[in-house]
């Protein structure tokens, strides 16, 4: 039952758990290793990281590393464990693999709503390593890291979202404002 693709995916998962890159996490579905969920946190020191924020739970401010009230959501658990008190954007993605992996790239889509010059309205990503520049050497960690760096390093020359691309080139302030908007939205969506 274990095909080269599945073996390799197991490897990727192990690697991701043992040595996770910063701001990235991902795991396959319980019953289907070919379908993964992943979360990317906005890179630090960018509009994507949401700036410093105080987490307010039910009207009570929570200090870093402090006690959480009962019935806190899993997201807050994550927040408590994070070293920085910043609460960046948390963007969810899905990765669909095929039996051709690693010779063919997975299909990666954002589930969270995004506003980025290279991300389509349906969440598909316009990224070279996911298309023609794919190499079998890339693994899940590499994919997610590239996407994370794409967030603050868009390529307005191949715009998937023309409005975002235009705003990025012409009106940075407005662009950053919109980015902060979706960062905030990503906290509430589930």
């Amino acid at each position: 039952m274990s095909t080269p693709a599945r073996k390799r995916l197991m490897r990727d998962f192990k690697r991701l758990q043992q040595d996770p890159p910063a701001g990235i996490s991902g795991a396959p579905h319980d019953n289907n290793i070919m379908l993964w969920n992943a979360v990317i946190f906005g890179p630090d020191d960018t509009p994507w990281d949401g700036g410093e924020a105080t987490v307010v739970v039910l009207g009570t401010a929570v200090a870093e590393g402090g006690e959480l009230p009962p019935k806190a959501s899993p997201l807050l658990e994550v927040v408590r464990l994070m070293p920085a008190s910043r609460l960046g954007g948390t963007f969810k993605l899905t990765l669909q693999f095929t039996e051709d992996y690693p010779n063919k790239p997975p299909t990666v889509r954002f589930v969270s709503r995004m506003f980025h010059p290279n991300i389509y309205a349906d969440g598909s990503i316009c990224l070279d390593i996911l298309q023609n520049q794919w190499s079998p050497i890339y693994d899940v960690a590499a994919i997610l890291t590239s996407i994370q760096s794409l967030l603050c390093d868009p390529n307005p020359n191949s715009p998937a979202n023309s409005e975002a691309a235009r705003m990025f080139s012409e009106n940075k302030r407005e662009y950053n404002r919109k980015v902060r908007e979706i960062v905030e939205q990503s906290w509430t969506a589930d």
Partner: protein, 592 residues
């Protein structure tokens, strides 16, 4: 670097395209080249075939291609002192041009190596007993791992998968590189042969062969279906017409069927027009009106003006004014003199759509006229071709045997005139067919040119018709019955005479078209030109006998078509010919 060169070569081809062919050979000698025919008749013609080949183009069989490819690779390999697989990659990168490879290599070897992926010094894989595959991350003993010249190790299974995926993705596999994205080391045929499955190796070698023809600017595959030959053409050597060993003649420039004397652009436009949906649209515009309620096009097939649209619409309306039927009748004063129509016309409400409909109708009629004749000549040519083949096969041999048994003084070559006549007919039908396409695109306002053209065309066509009839019907008589020798000699004289007369007419026509009808002035002659009917009578009455010259001059178009601009542009959407002054198509409203 590559792209610059591409541009340069493309320019060469374009400028040649604009030139008319120089050194155009007489029509007669072409006939002999075009078809495989029975040995006993082909002596003179075969010589001219090989002569033509040396001049202009060469036919390459599968074996020829392989041989040449091997030779080129060997040459590069020896001169540059590199492996054959490396030479192959290098050649493929520079489109199989040996001279280019030499130039680029000796200009800047390092740059070339980098771009193509041929490392100067090949590195070996790490010398440990076990290595980790970069793709599956498993550990294997060193002898079960392979790397390209860069030394990046991958296990054989992963290599096989990588190569297989690349090959099934298409000819891009010829430019395969090391899987490591930071490394550009090329993977050549030697590694493919080592690591790939048998099927993949076959595919790879097939792609390599195809690349030799397709990537090389001097060669093209013969477009005839099922033909495995390629044609190498020396650019700049005049006429683009080549004839493959499979007896298909085509234009090397645009790979369409041979279309001398009309140029490639006109041919492309004509073919597009024949296939375009545009004609359907024009027809619909000209012959139908949209239902006022559901907008579906309706064609009136009965006399009454009271139209009921088909279900589910079922709207009832008057054909003339497209108004609802319930409001019709007494108020508007009847059907045939629909007052509302007249009143509206005075107001100018219907002018636009009426005008468009009128123009569409004219345009369509004009196109139909030319297309019909083009198509008729095409089918006529096919029939002539099949007659020719049957002549060469059974009937002719029987005929010869008959005649020979009758008369000793009747050598086989005496019957060559029949074959020549048929070949002439086939070639002339082809030329005539394309002159109709030419006639369609000849600008309406160039009256003098048009008259001259139609005159020449008429002469040629009438000659061809007589020749065709003689060859078809009268030859039949001689084949079926026993005819005395004298009559047969007369027939031979007649047929040979007709053949050469027709050949002359066609030579005139072709020469005139190739020089762009320069002998005749352009629109400044308008004052002296009369209606085209006068040239019609000139063409048909000068020679007696059956002639179809009346068919080939265009009807004078309706008043809405008079245009003084010297240029027309053809709409991309519906191919309608608009005057230069308009920016949007008058037929379909598409922007220029």
């Amino acid at each position: 670097m590559d792209s610059e060169d591409d541009m340069h070569d493309a320019d060469d081809l374009d400028s040649l395209d604009d030139q008319f062919y120089s050194g155009y050979a007489a029509l007669g000698s072409d006939d002999g080249d075009e078809y495989d025919f029975v040995d006993n008749v082909s002596d003179g013609a075969e010589e001219s075939t090989s002569h033509r080949q040396q001049q202009n183009y060469t036919i390459l069989s599968d074996a020829d291609i392989r041989l040449r490819q091997e030779e080129d690779i060997s040459r590069i390999s020896t001169v540059l002192s590199i492996l054959r697989s490396e030479a192959c990659i290098l050649l493929r990168h520079y489109n199989w041009s040996v001279s280019r490879v030499h130039d680029e290599w000796f200009a800047n070897e390092d740059h070339v190596r980098k771009v193509v992926g041929l490392l100067e010094n090949s590195s070996e894989m790490q010398r440990t007993r076990e290595l980790t595959c970069g793709i599956c991350f498993e550990n294997y003993p060193r002898d079960r791992m392979t790397s390209a010249a860069c030394g990046h190790p991958f296990c054989h299974t992963c290599w096989r998968g990588y190569i297989s995926t690349s090959i099934s993705d298409g000819p891009g596999c010829l430019m395969l590189r090391c899987p490591d994205p930071s490394c550009g080391a090329a993977v050549g045929q030697d590694m493919i042969d080592l690591l790939a499955t048998h099927e993949d190796k076959e595919k790879y070698s097939r792609y390599l062969l195809r690349s030799y023809i397709e990537d090389n600017r001097k060669t093209k595959w013969c477009p005839a279906p099922g033909c495995e030959f390629a044609v190498e053409y020396i650019i700049g050597s005049g006429s683009f017409d080549v004839c493959c060993n499979c007896s298909y003649g085509f234009c090397w420039n645009c790979t369409e069927e041979a279309h001398r004397p009309v140029d490639c652009d006109t041919v492309a436009k004509w073919i597009l027009k024949n296939s375009a949906e545009s004609e359907n649209m024009n027809w619909i515009l000209a012959n139908s009106k949209p239902c006022p309620k559901c907008k579906r096009p309706i064609e009136k097939n009965q006399g009454c003006m009271h139209i009921t649209c088909t279900p589910p619409c079922k709207f009832e309306f008057c054909w003339l004014c497209l108004g609802s039927w319930s409001e019709h009748g007494e108020r508007t004063g009847g059907f045939y003199a629909c007052n509302r129509y007249d009143a509206a016309k005075q107001e100018g409400a219907y002018d636009e759509s009426e005008r468009r409909r009128e123009m569409a109708k004219n345009s369509l009629e004009r196109y139909t006229h030319y297309y019909e004749r083009w198509a008729t000549n095409q089918s006529s040519r096919q029939k002539a071709l099949s007659d020719l083949h049957s002549m060469q096969n059974e009937k002719f041999l029987l005929f010869q045997l008959e005649k020979l048994s009758d008369q000793q003084s009747q050598p086989e070559s005496q019957l060559k005139f029949i074959i020549e006549a048929w070949l002439q007919i086939v070639e002339c039908r082809r030329v005539l067919k394309w002159t109709y396409a030419y006639g369609f695109y000849l600008p309406e306002h160039e009256h003098a040119k048009r008259q001259f053209f139609e005159y020449l065309q008429g002469e040629a066509e009438s000659g061809l018709e007589r020749l065709h009839q003689c060859a078809e019907k009268e030859l039949q008589i001689y084949l079926d019955a026993q005819i005395p020798m004298n009559d047969f000699n007369d027939f031979r004289t007649k047929l040979a005479g007709l053949t050469s007369v027709t050949r002359n007419y066609f030579e005139n026509l072709v020469r005139a078209l190739e020089t762009g009808l320069k002998d005749v002035g352009s629109s400044n002659n308008q004052a002296t030109c009369s209606k085209s009917s006068s040239s019609k009578s000139l063409g048909s009455k000068a020679k007696g006998g059956k002639s179809k010259a009346t068919g080939n001059s265009s009807k004078s178009a309706g008043p809405s078509r008079s245009m003084d601009d010297s240029n027309l542009w053809s709409c991309d959407h519906c191919t309608y010919a608009n005057p230069k002054s308009t920016r949007t198509c008058q037929m379909c409203e598409h922007h220029r």
